[in-house]
């Protein structure tokens, strides 16, 4: 359907002069309409958001909260019903901004009839990169995402995880300043998830800005500096992850090698000072940590098998 709310490259005022701002939205709203122009759903309601250079910003929210709509509006895949969106100082509908953006869609959406090498070369050509640069970056990225050995295979033969990794490689072909990741860990095994998160942190270390949205709260918690929580198209929470998660009236003490007597004494000290002991027990690790530990152990000592079911 053709939208009459056409892209307007020059009608909007430019964002603030602050060169640190990579993404800025002002009262950004999107209403989906049916063929007859009747309102179907109000997906986004007056979103004001700022993403600064060099940070990892997470968009959180349940299904239908407006995360993907926000990303599509920022990429110019949708036109806003009202409000403005600026990316790297340009209106979101200006294709020139895409020169410095890398985008990994939710399902990768790649051409299955191409092989990995052709895919990266094709996207490199879309950035007008010369042949030598394309070749160099293609090899480098194939190594980074570990599909060098399968580079001549067509993508239709790839597993979901491999396709995801090629999707990430195509998002980095232009060495972008801003990387937009839609559910980056979808379809990846725990090792792949960890590698993806490491890579995101590495991109941050290179000074790049990352905007990601995810359902997996642990992923967001692990890598994001700041998050925005959306619900039914409205911004409900915005701030630094560490600040938002800090429980101010609870004190955590982590120590190792304590005897049972010492633990009893600690409980007595808490009681003496009028505090309430919430818990004094051995902590459990995360399942992710346990899984990675097992895999690393298996790789170090191949052939070893589990002796029996672990006792609780």
């Amino acid at each position: 359907m053709v939208s009459t709310a056409a892209p307007a490259a020059s009608q909007a005022a430019s964002p603030g002069v602050d060169g640190d701002i990579v993404i800025e939205t002002r009262g950004l709203a999107k209403v989906y309409r049916d063929f007859w122009g009747r309102q179907k759903v109000r997906a986004l309601k007056g979103l004001d958001l700022t993403v600064r250079r060099g940070e990892i910003f997470g968009l959180l929210g349940p299904n239908g909260s407006g995360k993907t709509t926000t990303i599509k509006l920022l990429l110019g895949l949708l036109f806003p019903t009202s409000g403005q969106a600026f990316v790297l100082g340009k209106p979101a509908t200006d294709v020139a901004k895409n020169e410095r953006i890398g985008y990994l869609p939710e399902e990768s959406y790649l051409y299955k009839f191409l092989n990995a090498e052709e895919t990266l070369d094709f996207y490199g050509r879309l950035f007008n990169l010369p042949k030598a640069v394309r070749r160099e970056r293609t090899q480098k990225l194939l190594e980074l995402v570990r599909v060098t050995t399968a580079k001549k295979r067509r993508l239709r033969e790839y597993s979901k995880g491999m396709t995801r990794r090629i999707g990430l490689a195509q998002a980095l072909i232009n060495d972008p300043e801003l990387i937009i990741l839609d559910e980056p860990t979808t379809g990846l095994d725990p090792i792949g998830c960890r590698e993806m998160k490491d890579l995101i942190l590495d991109l941050k270390r290179q000074g790049k800005t990352v905007l990601m949205c995810s359902h997996l709260l642990a992923d967001v918690q692990d890598v994001c500096d700041r998050i925005a929580v959306l619900h039914q198209g409205e911004l409900k929470e915005l701030g630094r992850v560490d600040g938002l998660l800090k429980v101010r009236d609870v004190t955590e003490l982590r120590a190792s090698g304590l005897s049972d007597e010492c633990k009893t004494e600690l409980a007595a000290v808490v009681a003496k000072h009028g505090g309430k002991l919430i818990g004094l027990d051995n902590p459990t690790t995360t399942l992710e940590e346990l899984f990675l530990e097992i895999v690393q152990d298996a790789e170090a000592r191949p052939g070893r098998r589990a002796a029996s079911e672990s006792s609780t």
């Binding site: 056409a6 307007a8 110019g76 959406y109 094709f122 996207y123 050509r125």
Partner: protein, 622 residues
């Protein structure tokens, strides 16, 4: 025979550009107005104006800064997609058609080359158009559906590059099978019609001396070749065994005593015979067929007629046929007069070759199978000095060829020089008359022409393929444009409808205009035709007068006007189709090729603009 363009490309270009510019300008203006109205309804008039202005400014940038690398990358993707996703189905179908074609093509027909060429070229034409529709209509909608377009439009790719890249890509995709089919067709035609005759010593007899054979060299022999491809040739060989066969249709011609010169018919062929003395016996080798394929370059003249009493007339007699031809009444002063330019000795040192395709209209049954005698007079257009009439025998559907010699005589036997006495600055008149009373000759402006030269058939075949290629390009562009706003199957149907409309455009436009304008044949509009179909009423019977009929005819008038307007935007594929010229053995002039190219570009440019604007205004994500 096909009609030819008599005016040059340069003559028509300026007038055509004005019409084209006006039509495109008005169309784009109307589109812009519609967009403004719709936007204004939602955003208000000021914001709408602002939006439209912004879109126009960025659209100009999109058109001016098209990156060749990105465009070719998109084109490359289209080629890869087509090659990897769709097998060469079109090619396989074509090869199957060719494999079985020989079962149905009649090599005994009078002009098999014409039949073979028109069959294969038309098959190529329709298959390539089908391939273009199927290939180009689904790609963009599939990209939208699979969301692979997300990874394209989030790169710095302009909408103009996406549309242009796809047009170029699918053009390349369809050009490969067209070229392959073209080559196969050419080889098929040439190889299928190639044949050899046998000639042995037993087939020839010494020529008996007599008055009719006084020009024959001593020791010559005469006979007939063996039969191949359902015909054989009469042949005369000299004492060394060398000679040339007569044409394959020579035995079909019954010459009349009244005929002054014997014609060679346009589509006939002959063979060169060489002899070799081996062990005291003469062994004859009959060569491949000669003169089977033609690419005649005609010089056409201006035609006017004379009435039965010799007075000037713009049109000839109308014998009831719905053609562009005028008829000349036999046995009267009625005549068709052609005025030719460019008749000079440098171009025609050996005399002027003339070819005629004359339609015969017989009003008596007598001698139905015999030719009708006509006469030609070559006349000086200024002084009126004329040659003596030269009689010829005209037959149905046959191209008559003859050379007008440089030296002619007038009716008193005085010698006339064609270039010195009869041509004035290269201009000469040729008057054609029908001799027998009650018979008629029909000619149109394209039917009698001077043969400037014989072009190369293979090059002409390639020119014919170029016309098909242009139709294919237009089909690809239509499919890509439709696919910017329609789903795959709907885009395919819309393109197919447009292509059928383009193939039938002259017919549809004629019917619509005949019904729209007074004084033309009334055949009824859409509704009236439906009524006539249901109550089986003939076209000659008027509908009963009344409110219903008035209503039907009023609605038909609106529908006809809409159709008339709509077909302004539909290209005319028949105008780009030169298959009849190639099959008829006529060279396609470079001027005509330029006109075809200009006509195609005239549609491609605005269609590209429409596709680009629509895609630019389309939200890629739904």
């Amino acid at each position: 025979m096909d009609t030819f363009q008599t005016t040059s490309f340069a003559d028509q270009l300026s007038a055509g550009l004005v019409t084209w510019g006006t039509t495109v300008g008005i169309t784009l203006g109307v589109m812009l107005l519609v967009c403004y109205v719709f936007t204004a309804i939602r955003l208000g008039p000021l914001s709408a104006g602002d939006r439209i202005y912004s879109v126009l400014v960025s659209a100009v940038g999109d058109l001016l800064f098209i990156s060749p690398r990105r465009t070719f990358a998109i084109a490359w993707l289209a080629v890869k997609e087509s090659i990897r996703k769709q097998a060469v189905a079109g090619l396989i179908i074509f090869l199957v058609i060719l494999a079985f074609a020989l079962w149905f093509l009649d090599s005994e027909t009078y002009d098999p080359s014409s039949l073979y060429i028109s069959f294969v070229m038309n098959a190529v034409n329709y298959l390539v158009l089908l391939l273009a529709v199927l290939t180009a209509a689904f790609s963009l909608p599939n990209d939208m559906k699979n969301k692979t377009i997300y990874t394209i439009v989030t790169k710095p790719v302009r909408p103009s590059e996406i549309i242009l890249g796809r047009i170029l890509g699918f053009t390349a995709v369809c050009t490969i099978p067209l070229a392959t089919m073209g080559l196969c067709s050419y080889l098929f035609v040439v190889r299928s019609l190639d044949h050899r005759h046998e000639l042995t010593e037993a087939d020839v007899r010494p020529i008996v001396a007599g008055p009719a054979t006084r020009n024959v060299k001593p020791g010559s022999k005469q006979g007939s070749t063996s039969t191949a491809h359902s015909h054989r040739h009469k042949v005369t060989v000299d004492a060394d065994g060398n000679g040339v066969t007569e044409t394959n249709d020579s035995d079909r011609i019954e010459m009349d005593d009244a005929v002054d010169f014997h014609d060679r018919f346009g589509s006939s062929h002959w063979h060169v015979v060489t002899g070799e003395l081996r062990d005291g016996r003469m062994v004859y080798h009959v060569g491949p067929p000669q003169g089977q394929f033609h690419a005649r370059v005609p010089i056409k003249g201006l035609l006017r007629f004379k009435e039965a009493d010799g007075t000037a007339s713009k049109e000839g007699y109308n014998v009831g046929n719905w053609t562009k031809r005028g008829y000349v009444a036999g046995g009267t002063l009625s005549a068709a007069v052609f005025t030719f330019d460019g008749v000079d000795p440098n171009r025609f040192p050996e005399g002027v070759p003339l070819e005629m395709n004359i339609r015969l209209f017989r009003t008596t049954k007598e001698g139905m199978d015999k030719p009708i005698i006509g006469s030609l007079i070559i006349r000086n257009p200024i002084t009126g000095l004329s040659s003596a009439p030269r009689n010829f025998a005209a037959r149905e559907y046959v191209t008559l060829q003859q050379i007008i010699p440089r030296k002619l005589t007038d009716s008193k036997g005085k010698t006339l020089d064609l270039f010195d006495d009869l041509a004035v600055n290269g201009r000469v008149e040729i008057e054609l008359q029908c001799i027998p009373r009650s018979q008629f000759f029909g000619v149109g402006p394209d039917d009698v022409y001077l043969l400037a030269r014989e072009g190369r058939f293979d090059v002409n075949f390639l020119k014919g393929l170029f016309g098909i290629w242009l139709q294919m390009v237009l089909t690809v562009v239509l499919a890509v444009v439709f696919s910017t706003f329609l789903s795959g199957p709907v885009a395919m149907l819309a393109t197919a409808a447009a292509v059928i409309g383009a193939l039938l455009r002259p017919f549809i436009v004629n019917v619509v205009r005949d019904n729209l304008f007074e004084g033309k044949a009334h055949t009824g509009g859409v509704l009236e035709s439906m009524v006539r179909l249901t109550d089986q009423r003939a076209i000659t019977l008027e509908l009963e007068e009344g409110t219903t009929t008035s209503l039907i005819q009023s609605i038909d008038k609106v529908l006809n006007s809409l159709l008339d307007g709509m077909f302004t935007f539909i290209p005319d594929f028949s105008a780009l189709n030169d298959v009849n010229s190639v099959a008829g053995g006529f060279d396609i002039s470079s001027s005509l090729l330029w006109m075809h190219t200009a006509q195609t570009l005239g549609f491609v440019l605005p269609l590209f603009l429409v596709g680009f604007i629509v895609f630019k205004l389309t939200e890629v994500a739904k």
